[in-house]
Symmetry: C2
Subunit: 468 residues, 2 copies
């Protein structure tokens, strides 16, 4: 058995991966939570009680769905395509009409900044993304940005100036569907990825590899000059409203998720080597069947995940030589393992590797395991979590609130490296996302926006009290 921790290119899956993840090979060191600011959380909050406009938010979500709307009720709005250009132009003009100054950074991320009383504090970010998967829905990412715009409208109609500036952010290419690194712009901003790496990402649909993220930014007029950097363009904090993309809130009858972090996750690529043998003439006892071994491994990794209270998924499997009459000599499959705890996930990998080696040997096969991507668990900042917690309890009632970790990556993973961050989740119908059937109701969207608004106002209140 050979276990390698490598950074090999995903050649095998390159045409099919729908990545919302980052690849370790392009990371820049150092990263991690490098800021030290902690606000007092004991100060009594004195925030105004504004209410978001449910219908206005709902209408905005569905009116702007015109850019990329598909007949099945979904959206196809791949990053930096003409539909993305259109919704970006709408974002710029809409936020400008609400009094914002719009900055475009080198990654094309849009920062619509509304001035605060303080002229020295960096803005509180309210960010998510307007791009979608190829057959995406109307809420993933979009709800977070549109809720930010709804917050601008509420503050505007109430004539409220926050202490810190606010920045509603549309992070470029969060999905990684067109340029195959997910959350890439927040990753450049946080220093996790090099700008050159990100700029050179080819457009997935362009076989000539001439269209890159940078050339597409230029083509649609959104290659900005503001450095894509937390140092040059800092944030005081980052809040993100998102649909859950899972069924937990719905199953448990909860209305709001207070997101305390993001679970540890990553992928193994497992290659089982056996021997080509004739299906009709080779006795069972003589065989070295790569797929018999693989089937046992797939069942075993599920048991390991269940025992550890983690998640395991084998999403990709293929056999060679693809002949019904030949015992396959090679099977390759992916293993996605995730757990709230980085340490427990590491133990899951160790156990999986040992068990796969044992199963291979028992079946006269060999196995190679490559750890091609892994992302440690992210713990969001207690200052932000407590703002979301209080806001959620206030808006939905304590019984309707669940504290949870996110199971998927979000731009907040990267902002969390550089500024206090937390997220708000609202239920996804049936746990469905990345699909036209993705749905959260007008009430669910509005409640999420309300919690986002109150979270931001609570954090602003803390910044103000800390400054005074």
């Amino acid at each position: 058995m050979l276990i390698t921790r490598t950074t090999r290119a995903l050649g095998l899956f390159s045409s099919t991966i729908k990545s919302t993840s980052y690849s370790s090979f392009s990371r820049l060191a150092p990263f991690g939570q490098t800021y030290t600011r902690t606000l007092s959380t004991t100060t009594q909050a004195t925030i105004p009680s504004y209410t978001v406009n449910k219908d206005r938010l709902w209408n905005t979500i569905h009116e702007t769905a015109q850019w990329g709307a598909t007949p099945d009720g979904g959206i196809r709005r791949l990053a930096l395509t003409d539909t993305d250009k259109a919704v970006r132009e709408w974002f710029v003009s809409t936020t400008q009409s609400l009094g914002c100054t719009v900055k475009v950074d080198e990654m094309g991320s849009l920062f619509a900044t509304r001035a605060g009383i303080s002229t020295s504090l960096p803005p509180i970010g309210i960010g998510s993304h307007l791009d979608t998967q190829p057959a995406g829905g109307r809420y993933d990412g979009i709800l977070g940005v549109q809720a930010g715009i709804e917050i601008l409208r509420v503050l505007e109609e109430n004539g409220h100036q926050t202490y810190a500036p606010l920045a509603v952010i549309d992070w470029t290419n969060e999905e990684g569907a067109r340029f195959n690194t997910g959350m890439v712009s927040s990753g450049v901003w946080s220093g996790r990825y090099a700008l050159d790496y990100a700029h050179a990402l080819p457009a997935a649909e362009d076989k000539t590899k001439k269209a890159t993220l940078k050339s597409e930014l230029e083509r649609i007029g959104f290659l900005g000059s503001v450095p894509a950097s937390y140092q040059a363009n800092p944030l005081s904090a980052h809040f993100e409203l998102h649909i859950e993309q899972g069924p937990v809130l719905e199953d448990e009858g909860k209305m709001v998720g207070v997101v305390t972090g993001v679970q540890s996750m990553g992928w193994l690529i497992v290659t089982v080597h056996g021997k080509n043998q004739h299906s009709g003439t080779c006795p069972m006892a003589r065989r070295a069947c790569a797929l018999t071994s693989a089937a046992r491994m797939i069942s075993r990794v599920e048991e390991i995940a269940l025992a550890a209270d983690g998640l395991s998924t084998v999403g990709v499997i293929n056999s060679w030589p693809q002949s019904p009459a030949t015992v396959p000599h090679k099977v390759v499959f992916s293993v996605d393992l995730s757990h709230h705890s980085t340490e427990v996930r590491e133990r899951m990998i160790a156990e999986t590797s040992a068990e796969f080696g044992r199963i291979a040997q028992a079946n006269k096969c060999t196995v190679e395991i490559e750890d091609i991507w892994n992302s440690p668990a992210v713990q969001f900042h207690e200052d932000c979590i407590s703002c979301v917690r209080e806001a959620a309890r206030n808006a939905a009632g304590e019984d309707n609130v669940k504290e949870m970790m996110a199971g998927a990556g979000h731009d907040s993973v990267h902002t969390s490296d550089r500024c206090p961050t937390s997220m708000v989740f609202v239920p996804s119908k049936g746990g469905i996302s990345h699909h036209p059937d993705e749905y959260s109701s007008p009430e669910q969207c509005a409640l999420g926006a309300q919690v986002l608004l109150e979270s931001v106002l609570r954090y602003d209140d803390q910044l103000k009290k800390a400054a005074l």
Copy 2:
């Protein structure tokens, strides 16, 4: 659960199937063992004791390997290519020089007939094939034809005229590698396939589908006028020497296999339907993972085959949508099941279907099972088997002979429908075939040819005694 017995085109695997099998959809009715002749087996055999020339046979095998020889020691001689044309021309001139009359039938099969004393009996066939798999070896099929030519040489040098004529046969496209129906020419001869169906088979490498079996026969000058029919061009019997293509003789230390028939075999295509879910956010208990189900099915069918003393192989598996971060909604895999008994194989299919349904349901999935090809067990004719048995015992000693069923298809399956048939097996090193490493030693090849010679002479002796 849906179980269908269909004849669907093998679209999914069409580019990858290495078929040595026939498809039920092209069968012509009626077929089956329709002849009634049975010879007395109690008559004392009085056959001459000629000996094949080991070195001459070995040299012929390896000299003719020039047509299609590959650097790794194998042969690539796809049916009706220029290399096949070359070896056919050699076959014709060699057998003619040995006094044979060569008939070419409408399928391009070559019948090199050596006259017997009787002018009314059809010839005793000694047949196999000279085509190979794309990366084939030097013995599969070839040994059977070259042993036939060695027999002609032995009889010629001993001035022996058999009672019945003999026909050394090169059956066209046995491998089915270039024209994707294996054993197709013996199948047309036996009436199992229509001539038009066989003629229209496209060459696998020709994307335009213009090159067909018939056009390629014309191109290389081997489209004969003799009807490809057991009625117009009958045989008294058919004997075939072949490498085992399995490790049983080698493992058991036996020198010759007396082949009593061909096991029942066939393919299921299994489609498991689950649900696309997010690997990071969907709890394990909520999942309907098509691959988790499939892995259990693959382990279960192996248990079923082991318990029934049969064989099961899952050679092809693929998942959809091939995303490591998505619980797959669909998995398709093949199941090859074989057993000496048609009835037991039917029970294996029934149990497999029931278990797959149960497993799918337990995992919130559904399953479709298509029985796309099945071939009942073939029992060879006792007259021919007894000739091979006596010849083998005489040549190798009783302790070195094993009676066995063939695990793979051969032209003898089809001839067995229309005339008494049996086969001789010799060991394959490591059970390897369809591979350049395929090997049987000079001694093993010669012993097989010796048994083939004596089998034919014994059968001829019986025909003579029955006629007199």
